[in-house]
Symmetry: C2
Subunit: 233 residues, 2 copies
Amino acid sequence: MNAPARQGWTDIRAEVLRRLHSRAWKPGDAIPTEAELATEFGCARATVNRALRALAEEGWLDRRRKAGTRVAVRPVRKASFSIPVLREDIEGRGQSYGYSLLRRETARAPGAVCGRMGLARGVRLIHVTSVHLADGAPQVFEDRWINPVAVPEVSKAPLDRVSANEWLLEHAPYTHGDIGFSAELAVGKTAEVLNVTPGAAVFVIERTTWNGERSVTAVRQVFAPGYRLHTVL
Amino acid sequence: MNAPARQGWTDIRAEVLRRLHSRAWKPGDAIPTEAELATEFGCARATVNRALRALAEEGWLDRRRKAGTRVAVRPVRKASFSIPVLREDIEGRGQSYGYSLLRRETARAPGAVCGRMGLARGVRLIHVTSVHLADGAPQVFEDRWINPVAVPEVSKAPLDRVSANEWLLEHAPYTHGDIGFSAELAVGKTAEVLNVTPGAAVFVIERTTWNGERSVTAVRQVFAPGYRLHTVL
DNA sequence: CAGTGGTCTAGACCACGAT
DNA sequence: TCGTGGTCTAGACCACTGA
């Protein structure tokens, strides 16, 4: 008999992963139940559960009550990354961070923005445009709309000194949101602010956040050419 | 005294999250220990642990032995999304998926590719270029290098029928990798293959995957203008 | 209905790391 | 050193869902 030395759930996770890689357990196959694996590894079922749950969260396994655990047919590896916090992103590259408020006003939001934020068309929101600098050079052009109903204190925010990005993180918690990435051509004001030739390719991140049922802010950040979002799998 | 009804770890997670949102516990603050919370909620410490561990994984809390649990100073929300599996991505939008192999050869990889894959310069790799179609229109131009040492069976792969994307998923498991997103201008062959005007902005995904210490493949996928990668937070 | 994963418990020991 | 989180256990009950 095999009397495995002391095993932690990470060891069990590693062993299961090894069987997946070696294709001993193939995509679509059902693997032994938690109870069976617990017996095999000589540990409590809870320990096996911990390992299998981790693998399921990572996308390697599909688990369902009664149906059992199966090897994910499609190794959909989930990539996760931290939302770039501009100041840290820039300072992390050894550059000095700068911020400049371009404009702050109250205005009727465009239909697209109202739609993204789930608000009635034509509602008046706080509109803030700014630019983030890296070593003094324009790095990101930010166009943000803030819902004053969700964040009443925004009227007192010193957005001329602190970026809305940071002020909101500190004063307006959010429960969820969505984010989108795309590529666009820099034109008009965007090209002007970023100080690039119109027609340059820029990376764009659009994000909307909510606090419960109430939308907090919708922001569009245009990154200077050459920006690259990177992460590990 | 409060005799909370039956509580699950998700309820405890929700309650802690509520305190974070209400700012009863502010960023940087240390929150009660697991034992204290277990007493307060009238449950086992393991249950509190489950809830706090989940919140830590989500980025709300920072936990360290001895130091205790603190509210994350910076709510670095981690965004996670599935790597687009082209066929599913396209079919998911209700379009028909198509694939066309443009070229397949063995060639000396460019220095940049060797670098990304951690191989010696000038090594010979399998080079495959192809295009993925949505309703017959070019959607993604793919330029891929495969390490035959890591995937010897690739010589027998019917890449004229199955995309390297799918063939590799099925036959070459990988342990880890890295992925990068950027915006570029479509020029030359890329613009030609995607059938777009040179100078259009395109979304680019570059990915390298490994199986243990051995690099499996390095791929560069250029998406037709308008592509948008989206996910929830 | 019954099998399988999901969760909880009460207690125990361990490992990291702040002081 | 020693407090705090990390993990394991053995057993129990529950919840979902396939048959």
